[in-house]
């Protein structure tokens, strides 16, 4: 999910002002260090869900650690936030603790040079191998975990599936057959929202688990510049996107609809299939709480049903810059220990809907919404693979525009895939990879 396209970007004024208020309040209450108290800052994205979560975590942490005050600082999401993080790290102005993507964006922070090694922390052994691999380099483990994993695929309206008596499709053809019935019943079969361009990538990014199922070495060879999106099996994502466009199954306002509109269409039942991340559940819970039980998840179907599997995104990491020293470093470590450790499980579960399994041993509650159970069932049957960004450092910055082209009929699948293969060259060269 490199240039963070797959993160919710809407910046809420309310959230920003809440963060500002929190800053002012904590600045007022911040005592001197002569009484043994320490003040640190936690830099986090300032969207609504995340601000509420960060505040809840800080409150629980301060209750247990009365000597430590944690100030919350907000930052924008998306590429603007990426640049802010890099600038502050490179100028030594970074907050004591910050959360940020794991995977390829994390690697771009030069962790060995800028971050504190956390491999000796008590929670290090509780992390899943998948997560450890996306917050580590050869020299160390740099990230605590921040929240649950999530899946990318098709979120669909289960109530309409039930009403029409449809089965979850195993193959792409089954999926298109379902779409035909849905269209016949007067609903929009596929929701697309190019008003937020990042949402257009899911046909391709969510298909990666299917590629991985057919060829587990694909990511490695892709990084070595030996495999290409313009060839099968990876081309399937682009091909399916083109087919979906040509079938005319999209909602009429797809060129300008936004992520939130997509959530509303899904929740109100005007549209049935939305290729998106399961994090959309938070938005639906916020805007349409009654619809949460109707929301279900399926992997993007492969051409051959035996390969159909769910693509999984790892949660963000929690990092400490290595310029932090002394009692502030101890306080920052205590905060990361708390958030990643078992004590914060209940805070996470209460503050945000988990959208997939946790990576630090936190158990999902028994009464999770059906969508999360669907994700879990893919894990239980072993039909999952990490998203490509966790296996390869290469992600072209223009994928979202290229997929908008495919989904708007501007360009065909093969040409678009070729363009994307050229687009990733910039990234590979920037990283100085061999063979590019």
């Amino acid at each position: 999910m490199n240039p963070s396209p797959l993160r919710r970007r809407h910046l809420s004024v309310a959230a920003a002002s809440a963060a500002a208020a929190a800053l002012v309040l904590s600045a007022c209450s911040g005592g001197g260090s002569e009484d043994g108290s320490v003040e640190i800052t936690f830099l986090s994205t300032s969207d609504e869900d995340n601000t509420a979560l960060a505040e809840a975590l800080i409150e629980a942490f301060e209750a247990e650690n009365p000597d430590i005050t944690v100030n919350l600082d907000g930052r924008p999401g998306g590429t603007e936030g990426d640049n802010l993080i890099k600038t502050r790290l490179s100028t030594g102005e970074m907050a004591e603790v910050f959360n940020y993507n794991s995977g390829s964006l994390f690697q771009a922070l030069n962790p060995d040079q800028n971050l504190l090694d956390l491999s000796d922390r008590p929670w290090a052994d509780s992390l899943t191998d998948d997560f450890v691999s996306v917050v580590s380099t050869d020299n160390g483990l740099y990230g605590g975990s921040y929240g649950s994993s999530f899946a990318g695929g098709i979120v669909y309206n289960g109530a309409i599936y039930e009403e029409l008596g449809l089965d979850v499709p195993e193959s792409w053809d089954d999926f298109m057959a379902n779409n035909e019935e849905i269209a016949g019943a007067g609903y929009d079969p596929i929701i697309q929202t190019y008003g937020d361009t990042w949402t257009s990538q899911l046909f391709v990014l969510g298909d990666y688990a299917n590629v991985h199922a057919q060829d587990p070495d694909w990511a490695e060879q892709y990084t070595a510049h030996e495999r290409f999106y313009a060839e099968e099996p990876a081309l399937a994502g682009f091909r399916h996107h083109e087919e979906a466009y040509e079938s005319g199954y999209f909602n009429e306002n797809y060129p300008s609809a936004t992520f939130e509109d997509g959530g509303s269409m899904l929740a109100e039942g005007t549209g049935v299939h939305y290729p998106i991340l399961t994090t959309i559940l938070s938005s639906i819970r916020f805007n349409h709480p009654d619809a949460v039980e109707d929301m279900r998840f399926m992997a993007i179907p492969a051409d051959d049903p035996q390969y159909t599997s769910a693509t999984i995104w790892q949660p963000d990491g929690l990092y400490i810059p290595n310029t932090v020293e002394g009692e502030q470093r101890d306080a920052a470590l205590a905060f990361v220990d708390f958030v990643t450790g078992p004590d914060a499980c209940s805070v996470f579960i209460e503050a945000v809907n988990p959208t997939g399994p946790y990576v630090n041993g936190c158990e999902l509650p028994a009464d999770v919404p059906p969508l999360v159970q669907d994700v879990q069932s893919y894990f239980d049957s072993g039909n999952t693979a990490p998203a490509l960004e966790f296996l390869s450092p290469i992600k072209g910055p223009n994928l979202e525009n290229i997929t908008v082209e495919v989904g708007s009929g501007i360009r065909g699948a093969e040409e678009a895939a070729e363009n994307y293969d050229r687009d990733v060259e910039n990234q590979a060269r920037q990283l100085g990879l061999e063979g590019w």
Binding site: Y194, S256, I410
Partner: protein
């Protein structure tokens, strides 16, 4: 020749400056720190692979890479279309409005301020406003068209239309400046010419063609240069309305460079900026020389 040079040297050496040289020092320091050094630094960084954390000198590789961008050709064409369309429309409409607004018209000053008003508004604000107005489904514009029985197009979402729509918004926003320059040019034309033409019985069109048009040429030159430079390096309005989309259909060089910054390719996008600088210079210098030459010939 020799004598001339000698005199020049002498005047330079012994000229009595109005202020001591060190009075210029603060300005020179500001110029160096905020202009000269960053300019040369950007030329240097365009030759490096630069991640903000470290840099590696890679020669001209960024420039080679920049010209290999798949979208560059399209965005270059778009930049030219955008620059020339906005500039041309500003000249034509700006002159027409200026002629109208210098004639004896009721509410002339009010109309002048109405036309100048959009210049005062922030470009990003204008972009966001038009994005809402022109939304193909909830927008006011298509809503109004619908009451007339017309199905409005996707102004900003139709790939064939997006760039021209933005050019239209740009003209709406920038017309005030063009109009202002023309009004200044028009009122500077001596009334005697018009009176003489009227005595000779010239038609209104003949007066416009033979007196007004040639005599506002300096103003036309200024409008063309200003709006063409603005159009060629346009970015903010395009970013606020379509972000270069749908797909890449309204991408210009400026937005391609910005996307590279976003992606963290700092050296590459700095190279793009140098290229943009050279392109704008290559187009503007001949045009401005040509316009100025005509002015002198007059």
């Amino acid at each position: 020749m020799r004598a001339g040079r000698a005199r020049k040297v002498r005047t330079l050496g012994t000229a009595r400056h109005a202020y001591p040289l060190w009075f210029y020092l603060p300005a020179a320091v500001l110029f160096l720190v905020f202009f000269a050094i960053p300019t040369f630094a950007s030329f240097y960084f365009s030759l490096t692979r630069w991640t903000l954390f470290d840099q590696e000198f890679i020669g001209l590789e960024n420039y080679i890479q920049f010209f290999r961008e798949p979208q560059l050709y399209q965005s270059f064409i778009n930049t030219l279309i955008y620059g020339f369309v906005t500039s041309g429309l500003k000249v034509v409409i700006g002159l027409a409005l200026a002629v109208l607004l210098t004639s004896a018209l009721v509410g002339r000053n009010y109309l002048r301020s109405v036309i100048f008003f959009p210049v005062l508004v922030s470009t990003i604000g204008v972009g966001i406003m038009f994005k809402a107005l022109l939304d193909p489904f909830d927008g006011v514009v298509n809503g109004a068209l619908e009451t007339l029985g017309i199905t409005g197009p996707g102004w900003l979402t139709d790939p064939d239309l997006a760039l021209l729509t933005i050019a239209g918004i740009d003209v709406w926003k920038g017309l005030g400046i063009a109009c202002l320059i023309y009004i200044a040019g028009l009122v500077a034309i001596p009334q005697e010419y018009y009176e003489a033409a009227r005595v000779d019985g010239a038609s209104k069109w003949a007066v416009f063609k033979s007196i007004t048009l040639p005599l506002v040429k300096p103003a036309t030159g200024t409008v063309i240069i200003l709006s063409l430079i603005g159009g060629l390096r346009s970015f903010d309005l395009i970013w606020a309305t379509t972000g270069g989309g749908p797909g890449f259909s309204s991408d210009v060089i400026g937005s391609v460079i910005y996307k590279q910054y976003q992606a963290g390719f700092y050296g590459l996008s700095t190279a793009g900026n140098v290229v943009l600088f050279l392109v704008v210079t290559a187009i503007m210098v001949p045009i401005s020389l040509m316009l100025n030459k005509r002015e002198i010939e007059q």
